[in-house]
């Protein structure tokens, strides 16, 4: 570029000199001065052209043309602000929706953990053969050690077990969540501590294991957040631990933990094959696929069974990719959202195409003129492509703002209490890759439409177009193309609306289910009983009984209960396999199973869960009386379809063959544990006094303001036992809202997409009809002149609209039903098959189409035949 400037700088001087010299020569030849100068100029030729030709030689022609085109594009956009506003805003919304969803997908699905080589990580567990769909993924310690040693499929395997600790170094006893991990845990994940070190293999032995690695948040809040934290001592469950390392802020495995300690198993536990008590994560060896590894594990399980038939019969080790484990719930949701966003973009594009074609038809004369003046096809293409890219880039920039805003809204609309469990949630942002995605999308859309518009509107017959007086005309193929666009729009709109309707309806239904608990007057709190001082069942029972007695007598409290896993906890309930008395003992692998809940006697009254037949628990169901159980409605229907379950006996197989039979004394209504569960999950309830267990949650129903009771409950607990920490304090209402937050977001987003779809298709139908009425003004004029009444004209226009909409709907209705079916199976628990929704939205779209053609129809009816015939 600099060379170019230098070369051109002296050109004028050179030319001047040249002409002067020639003049001089001519004078020397004897010409008069004046004539000599003219002769020199004549001989030189056109100075301007020479300058320009030379200049062209040094310039980058295409860049200059591009700037020209961009300028022209901007000028055209300014000239038709209405078109610009619609085109840019629809495209911005379309691209913005995609960007926002993509930024979620990017964070949650593509980068959930910052581990080295995430795709090679697998969770390894043992399947004990019960038919529970979502078994907790545990493995027996001795089996884990054998698998790590004798199979050649893993680079390394780490084990861990998470549980709560009580932090006793502070004035108040505080619960902290922690995890015992094997020494190679951090190395396997490929994450180095932010400060200090992780564990040495020697620290995996009891006695040497009093060291802890703490999480970033714990370091900040509890240890002052400075370097001196390393080497400090903290009291956990009454023992002193030395802090040796601090993990980086984004380390969140298995869930965001406050601290990690060595998993020091006692020799007896290390040799245990009976209890599936620890969890395992492994890194696959290079070249070993997950399927190969799974097959190897199956083979190895057979050998284990042969060697240890008593403990390992019917148990099979298997694995799942860590990524797939995460995807289980999120993938269907996000695929749905991404598809919906994609459909919105397609709709926006269809609209844009419509608008562009209309614009191009109006500009046919201009195109013809340019072609006549010598513009090559390539030059014209470049011109239109740069023009459409200009506005799609404007739309892209607008879309970045739309998505920034949406992402912020998404992130803040769910409480961090819940989102901290979603790996990658804190990484949702509009980052570089998202920006590249957005701008790339904008450019591609722009280029595509520039070319498409040129292709369809740009093939002009020069003579015909330049001769014609009208604003340009529509050829038959162009009419067909635009009609096809309307059909496609109506189709997409219906599919999207049905998706949106189903999702919102699903969310509403879910919210209604939980509203049945009347959660606004319930408070939830979890007392954390230290394991060492509450090893004895009767002591646990005593603590809860006293807690319930004292809390339920607080003024204004109407009921109090403890339960294993309250609804909307976002945690799956424990499952238990059982046998029914009188039925042949089933072969292994076919053992029936159900969710198992431990509940105190007032649980059903506290959460307003109906007792359908028989009775609820009472305080008389205690350690001294016969063992009883309640079953849920769907459990009764599944296992005793033709008999009364009351009085039947079942035995939980986990407790061994010696366990006593439980007598079923009542049937209670179904409870939807979490939003992803079906309502019909069979559930067994055992009374707390007969099956006491640490870690039950306290639920308190008050007349009003349930959270106001927290301090009194705290006082009661401190007075009962000052070593008991208190965790998970919230109003039940809050818990329900957080729990279904992700579904609410999905419902809202789908609702927005649906509304956009409706608006876009309305605009699309209107645009095409208005255009076709304008094109047919002359025809309509002739019809009116020949005696057609306004009603006939109206029918003509309406019929056109209904035809297009009808074709679109005819295709879309079966598609929507198919989508509905697919959604019902994919987004389980939320969406169910619903013909009403499909029918309702079909009607809505028809109405919108009628409304959209109202203005064009009126315009057509007012056509004055004289004006129309003079139109050209």
């Amino acid at each position: 570029m600099r060379r170019r400037t230098r070369m051109l700088q002296d050109l004028d001087r050179d030319i001047r000199d040249h002409i002067e010299k020639e003049t001089q020569d001519n004078i020397e030849r004897g010409m008069p001065a004046e004539e000599a100068r003219y002769a020199a100029l004549r001989k030189f030729g056109n100075v301007t052209r020479v300058t320009e030709d030379t200049r062209d030689l040094w310039s980058f022609v295409w860049i200059e043309q591009l700037i020209q085109d961009v300028r022209f594009g901007l000028r055209m956009l300014r000239k038709s602000p209405g078109f610009t506003a619609i085109a840019v805003s629809t495209l911005a919304l379309g691209i913005g929706a995609n960007t926002a969803i993509f930024s979620m997908v990017n964070a949650l699905l593509l980068h959930p953990y910052s581990f080295r080589n995430l795709d090679r990580m697998v969770l390894v567990w043992q399947d004990s053969g019960s038919d529970a769909a979502l078994d907790n993924r545990y493995i027996a310690p001795a089996d884990a050690a054998d698998i790590a040693t004798y199979t050649r499929i893993f680079d390394s395997m780490a084990t861990y077990r998470c549980h709560n600790f009580a932090l006793t170094s502070t004035a108040d006893v505080q619960p902290v969540n922690g995890c015992g991990v094997s020494a190679n845990f951090f190395e396997l994940l490929g994450v180095a501590p932010a400060l200090g070190r992780t564990f040495a293999p020697s620290e995996q032995q009891a006695g040497l294991d009093s060291v802890a690695v703490v999480g970033y948040g714990f370091w900040q809040r509890q240890l002052g957040g400075d370097q001196s934290a390393i080497g400090k001592s903290i009291q956990l469950n009454g023992h002193a631990y030395t802090v040796v390392g601090i993990m980086p802020a984004d380390f969140n495995f298995p869930v965001p933990m406050q601290l990690w300690v060595p998993l020091a198993l006692a020799p007896a536990e290390r040799a245990n094959r009976a209890q599936l008590s620890i969890q395992a994560i492994a890194r696959l060896k290079d070249g070993v696929s997950a399927d190969q590894a799974r097959a190897a594990l199956t083979g190895f399980s057979t050998r284990l069974t042969a060697m240890y038939p008593t403990s390992n019969t019917g148990r099979r080790a298997t694995l799942i990719e860590l990524r797939r484990e995460l995807y289980q719930y999120t993938l269907p949701l996000f695929s749905l959202l991404q598809i919906a966003a994609g459909l919105v973009l397609l709709l926006a594009c269809a609209n844009l195409a419509n608008l562009l074609f209309a614009l191009m038809v109006g500009r046919q004369k201009q195109i013809a003129m340019r072609a006549a003046l010598g513009a090559s096809r390539r030059r014209l293409a470049q011109h239109f492509v740069s023009e459409t890219i200009v506005f799609s880039l404007i739309a892209g920039i607008a879309a970045v703002f739309v998505s920034l805003w949406t992402v912020k809204l998404l992130r803040t609309s769910i409480s961090p209490d819940w989102t901290k469990w979603v790996p990658g949630w804190s990484g949702i942002r509009v980052d570089a890759s998202v920006l590249v995605f957005t701008i790339g999308l904008a450019v591609i859309v722009g280029a595509f439409f520039g070319l498409a518009a040129l292709y369809h509107a740009g093939r002009v017959d020069l003579n015909q177009t330049l001769k014609e007086g009208g604003p340009g005309s529509m050829t038959r193929s162009r009419v067909r193309l635009r009609s096809a666009l309307v059909v496609v729009q109506v189709m997409f709109a219906l599919v999207l609306l049905v998706c949106a309707g189903l999702t919102s309806q699903g969310f509403q239904r879910l919210a209604n289910v939980y509203a049945g608990f009347q959660p606004e007057t319930v408070m939830k709190l979890e007392p954390v009983l230290p394991a060492n001082s509450y090893a004895d069942a009767s002591k646990i029972a005593l603590f809860y009984r006293q807690l319930l007695q004292q809390t339920s007598s607080l003024p204004g409290v109407t009921a109090a209960a403890v339960v294993d896993n309250p609804p909307a906890s976002n945690v799956d309930s424990d499952t238990a396999s059982f046998v029914i008395e009188g039925l042949a003992p089933p072969t292994r692998g076919e053992t029936p199973s159900a969710d198992l809940q431990i509940a105190s006697s007032d649980y059903f009254r506290t959460l307003r869960i109906g007792v359908l037949s028989g009775r609820a628990f009472s305080d008389a169901d205690n350690a001294g009386t016969p063992l009883v159980a309640l079953v849920s409605r769907s459990m009764a229907a599944k296992f005793w379809p033709h008999a009364d379950p009351i009085g039947q006996h079942i035995r939980l197989t986990e407790s061994g063959a010696a366990a006593s039979w439980l007598t079923i004394v009542g049937v209670v209504d179904d409870v939807r544990q979490n939003w992803w569960d079906t309502l019909t999950q069979p559930t067994i309830y055992q009374p707390m006094l007969q099956a006491p267990e640490r870690g039950l949650a306290l639920l308190l129903r008050a007349n009003a303001n349930p959270v106001g009771y927290v301090s009194s409950v705290r006082a009661i607990i401190r007075q009962l036992d000052s070593t008991v920490a208190i965790a998970g304090v919230s109003s039940f209402d809050h818990q329900v809202n957080d729990s279904i937050g992700i579904v609410r977001i999905m419902g809202t987003l789908m609702g927005v997409f649906g509304a956009l779809a409706l608006a876009l298709s309305g605009v699309g139908v209107y645009g095409v009809l208005a255009e076709s009425v304008a094109q047919r003004t002359r025809e309509i004029g002739i019809r009116v002149a020949l005696g057609a009444r306004p009603a006939d004209v109206r029918r003509l226009v309406l019929w056109n609209a209904m035809k297009l909409t009808g074709i679109g709907l005819a295709i879309a209705v079966p598609v929507s039903l198919g989508v509905n079916k697919a959604m019902a199976s994919l987004v389980f628990g939320i969406v169910s098959m619903d013909f009403g929704v499909v029918a309702a939205f079909t009607a809505v779209l028809l109405l919108v189409a009628v409304a959209a053609c109202y203005i064009p129809a009126r315009r057509a009816m007012r056509v004055d035949p004289i004006v129309a015939l003079r139109y050209e």
Partner: protein
Amino acid sequence: MSTKDRKERIELLQGTLDLLILRTLLLGPTHGHAIARAIEVNSDDVLQIEQGSLYPALHRLIKRGWIAVEEGTSENNRRAKFYRLTFRGRRQLAIETSKWDRLAGAIARILRPAEQGGEL
């Protein structure tokens, strides 16, 4: 269309003019006007070039690296641009000259098939 026609015409002229410029500069560096004069004089005023077209041609040759330009002082003591053949330009001249000879020979043979080749 006209753009294309003009291009073809220029190209035809271009090659010839380029060759003439390179040949002229073989005698030593000189300025624009002198080149034009030299071509006219050396061809016994048969080749009357439109002098202006010299400049785009000169710039094109510079861009290709066949000639170089430097500031100098002309005979009447004024600053002027002197054009000089580069090594690559010399090589190019040899190539172009032999090409031209073959072309001229071939055309001559076609035009006057009876005679013993053309003379130039």
